[in-house]
Symmetry: C2
Subunit: 144 residues, 2 copies
Amino acid sequence: MKSKYIIVIGCGRLGSELAVKFSQNHSVVVIDKNEKAFSRLVNKNFTGFTMTVDTNDMDALKKAKLDKADIVYIVTPDDNLNFMLAYGIKMIKKEINKEDLRIVARVNDPMKKDLFQRAKLELFCPIENSANQIFADFKGADEL
Amino acid sequence: MKSKYIIVIGCGRLGSELAVKFSQNHSVVVIDKNEKAFSRLVNKNFTGFTMTVDTNDMDALKKAKLDKADIVYIVTPDDNLNFMLAYGIKMIKKEINKEDLRIVARVNDPMKKDLFQRAKLELFCPIENSANQIFADFKGADEL
């Protein structure tokens, strides 16, 4: 199995879960502006690196070695920040000519999905994932 | 197709999505403590009912005719409130002898899942749903 270099931006509930699980088989760097966020990784067998970075500062983000990364997950709870980061990293990706870098952003508010799609950003939406699962479960349970 | 009576507690991003979609084929009552929350249903072809209820007041919740309901989705963003509501409605369910009433609660913090499970509450966790989908997508894209 080939090991990838994965960057996770935002070490909240979702980010910490991704970081822990991916770090079992891959090189993971997890970034948060707040050092305390990394307490979520304690006692979880996290084997990657943490980096405290002001996520509003695109230049600081370059420290994460985007040129070496295979995939970046942008999963803070702030949609506006996620959008800005995804867009900014997409620009860096062009600058450094790194076509195979995947950038995946979290969208919390389904109303904002359209904006992400127009900017041609790869996204996922936890609310919609859950809604879809609830509908599937509902149908399964009631045989509709 | 048999139409069900579905109660959705919490008209936020997830609750409003469920309410709109379920109301296409079922009787839906969506409850929120804040009337403004129902603005999420505007221009969405929602055909159910809204009810402004203090969700901290279990007695007030009885107005939602739990005895007539087939399923209750408790999907506020507040895990503690969701736990309290799920537990309270489970008690009402016993009182009124309504064994076939399904109660499904949202858990936002994966750390709290255990508590819900110990109380034998049916739950789902948007963060985990998304994490699982991300792992599946990651494997799909990279053929690991």
